[in-house]
Amino acid sequence: MKYTLVKIEEYSGKGASIYSILPDDKDETLLDDFINLHYDSFTEEIEDIIDTIEYIGFEVGARTNIINEGKGGLYDGVFDVRDKPDIQLRLYGFKYRSTLIILGGGGQKTTRTIQEDPNLTYFQEIMKDLSKQIDERIAENDFGVSEDGYELLGNLDFEKK
């Protein structure tokens, strides 16, 4: 899948800039897909997640206590936004510093482990892969962040093989 990182303006503010993944063959991001796909079944949970993202973007930033970063065997910087334990909606993201968040896709956790769920594994793998590619590009000086820490700069086109 080839994709570009795009800024989601309606979530971004003084707390953090929120980006998502826009596949080349689509005009909606993985985050949009996640919202559209699950809203009817998990209305309240999706609204809570939207409010959480918005508050992170507008106010509190990507604080480590709020974001479950690196837990459950996730790659460095990759986190999940989760809702109530009994619902267990998972939305995967990648945090870069406290001012930049890239949100991917997700879904409901219905299996005991993420590895047993091909859908969630897929979205988790996208973020792990992105995290690795960003590290490589930073090393090659092909990717960076604006001075104020809120804008991604450089080549924002990626491919998940």
């Binding site: 989601i8 939207i50 700069l153």
Partner: protein, 152 residues
Amino acid sequence: MTPPMKKERKENLLLKKIRENRDPIKKKNVQFRIDTACALDDLMQSKGISPSDLAKKLGKYPSEISKWLSGNQNFTQEVLLDIAHALDFELEIPFRKRADDKQELNLRIHFEVTINVEKPNEKFIPTPVTGRACQENHQMCKESGVSYSTGN
């Protein structure tokens, strides 16, 4: 390094609708949960207390403390008081007037709550509470300020 070329994302109409119709009280509840978690996290960090330390003090599992810090917890007053006590602090819940209260004139009582955790004095600090009920022609809902104290 130059800013990247912008690729267009189609506006998400569902998201727009959700944001426009969101219940402000529910939204405030999410924000309040996050603010409470961040206040607790700040306090623990300032005192050098880890989630495991707090878990031991409260007889909880560390995973529960992590959940509290994640902003997903609807705290009860009892739990907040237990936390404050375990950290040798006291809990204060002031009610504040809404910043935009001119826009709200109906029978519902609107309030904002912030939680400040303050160092204890010798006695339990009286908790100042001010409330606002908004209905101009309703006697019970006139603007009021209330305060109470609890001896300890």
